[in-house]
């Protein structure tokens, strides 16, 4: 015993080594279950480990973020520019699509109208509300002359008032000095359509006091007393009335053409052929 006491450190060390070897031997291989000290230790430590691990991850993310900040900034700038370019492109595509649609309708109308036509773009507009006229980018060198009829696929726009070599001024239907022979499509009663200063609607004055007309009636060109061909749509009746003394029957007509959104028009040449 005295020897053991004297060499207690050696004995304890050997014992520990033996125990460890024994433990290693017991726990070697792929175990399906943990021992109770392992479980106890693991369970006690896991919350702390989890918190530390999360904090470490967060710190790592911050660190990585700090390290990446200049790269991200550059990438962000580049993406922003790309996005702006895409938005602009999208706008251009939408505009091209709308223009394509309008031109397609115009071409379809031009083909079916049986007239020789030429397309023109509106490039200017009157600024005072007294006159309603626009300038188009076709002129005498394209064969335009005064009094040619101007239309869109929606209906009559007006007529050419005067031309220069490269442009033409078009008198719109809504101008107080324009006048088109018109008729009610349903009843065939005739009259004259003119514009009204300051109003976007037209005024149809009938030749007969007994004209049969009602709101909703479609008004077309009559082909009488003007250069406008018969049967072209002018607009739709929104109101019917009589003059102060009841001598003249009139109708307020909403034009078929949206004159506020006039971008492309067709000019009709007399004589037919396309």
């Amino acid at each position: 015993m005295a020897w053991l006491y004297r060499h207690r450190r050696l004995v304890l060390t050997l014992l520990a080594i033996f125990l460890l070897l024994f433990t290693i031997g017991l726990t070697r291989g792929q175990r399906a279950t943990a021992t109770w000290p392992e479980r106890l230790f693991g369970d006690l430590l896991s919350p702390v480990q989890g918190s530390v691990a999360r904090a470490t991850a967060a710190l790592e993310a911050v660190w990585r973020g700090l390290a990446d900040i200049s790269r991200l900034r550059a990438e962000n700038q580049s993406l922003k520019k790309e996005n702006e370019a895409l938005v602009a492109l999208q706008g251009q595509l939408a505009e091209i699509k709308a223009e394509n649609e309008r031109l397609r309708r115009l071409v379809s109308f031009a083909t079916s109208s049986g007239y020789r036509t030429i397309a023109a773009r509106v490039i200017g507009r009157d600024v005072d509300s007294w006159f309603n006229q626009v300038v188009v980018d076709r002129g005498a060198r394209d064969g335009l002359a005064p009094n040619l009829v101007v239309v869109t696929d929606q209906g009559i726009v007006g007529r050419v008032l005067r031309v220069t070599s490269r442009t033409a001024t078009v008198l719109l239907l809504t101008d107080p000095e324009s006048g088109v022979g018109a008729m009610v499509q349903r009843s065939r009663d005739t009259g004259v359509v003119t514009g009204v200063a300051g109003s976007s609607n037209l005024l149809l004055k009938f030749f007969s006091r007994e004209a049969d007309v009602a709101p909703g009636d479609v008004i077309i060109s009559s082909g009488l007393n003007s250069s406008f061909p018969k049967g072209m749509v002018i607009g739709e009746v929104v109101k019917v009335g009589r003059s102060d003394y009841g001598l003249v029957k009139f109708a307020e007509v909403k034009p078929a053409v949206n004159f506020d959104r006039l971008e492309e028009v067709l000019i009709l040449f007399p004589g037919g052929g396309s």
Partner: protein
């Protein structure tokens, strides 16, 4: 004789009005050349106002005017009236300034109506006042505060400073 730069600026104003504003917002009752004429005349008096009005009016008439001379007469009248009103009433007060722009725009529309009436243009006075003159005068008056500083107040301050120095 105005310098080339002035002439180009005036052309640009006219083009912006006819081929940009009028196509973009045709129902917006703004007549930029008239407004510029009024502001210029308020600042510089009848003579220069009338000259600018004549130039702008001629541009308008040449570009789209059906009654060539109508715009010249209307703008010159507006320029003369604005120059006179500027001397008589204008005291660098924003409310007076807006009121003057309103009244002068209205005056121009009445002059135009009378001229057109004389030449047989079919327009009803009541419709003209309610649907053309009134909205235009209102828009011009509302725009006046934004143009007050650059067009009127700054040049006046500069003139006062020059007088003080000189």
């Amino acid at each position: 004789m105005p310098g080339w730069r002035t002439v180009i600026i005036l052309f640009l104003i006219s083009i912006i009005q006819h081929s940009f504003l009028a196509l973009l917002a045709p129902k917006w009752p703004l007549e930029l050349p008239l407004l510029v004429t009024l502001l210029y005349a308020l600042r510089w008096g009848e003579g220069k106002g009338a000259k600018l009005g004549a130039f702008f009016g001629l541009l308008e008439d040449l570009y789209l005017g059906r009654y060539v001379g109508l715009h010249v007469v209307g703008y010159v009248a507006a320029g003369l009236a604005a120059g006179w009103a500027g001397r008589r009433f204008f005291r660098e007060n924003l409310v007076i300034f807006m009121g003057l722009i309103f009244a002068l725009t209205f005056f121009h529309q009445i002059v135009s109506y009378l001229l057109l009436y004389v030449f047989g243009f079919p327009a009803d006075l009541l419709a003209v006042l309610s649907q053309i003159a009134w909205p235009r005068a209102l828009v011009h008056a509302l725009l006046a505060p934004f143009l007050y500083q650059p067009v009127v107040a700054i040049p006046l301050e500069k003139k006062a400073r020059l007088q003080y120095l000189g």
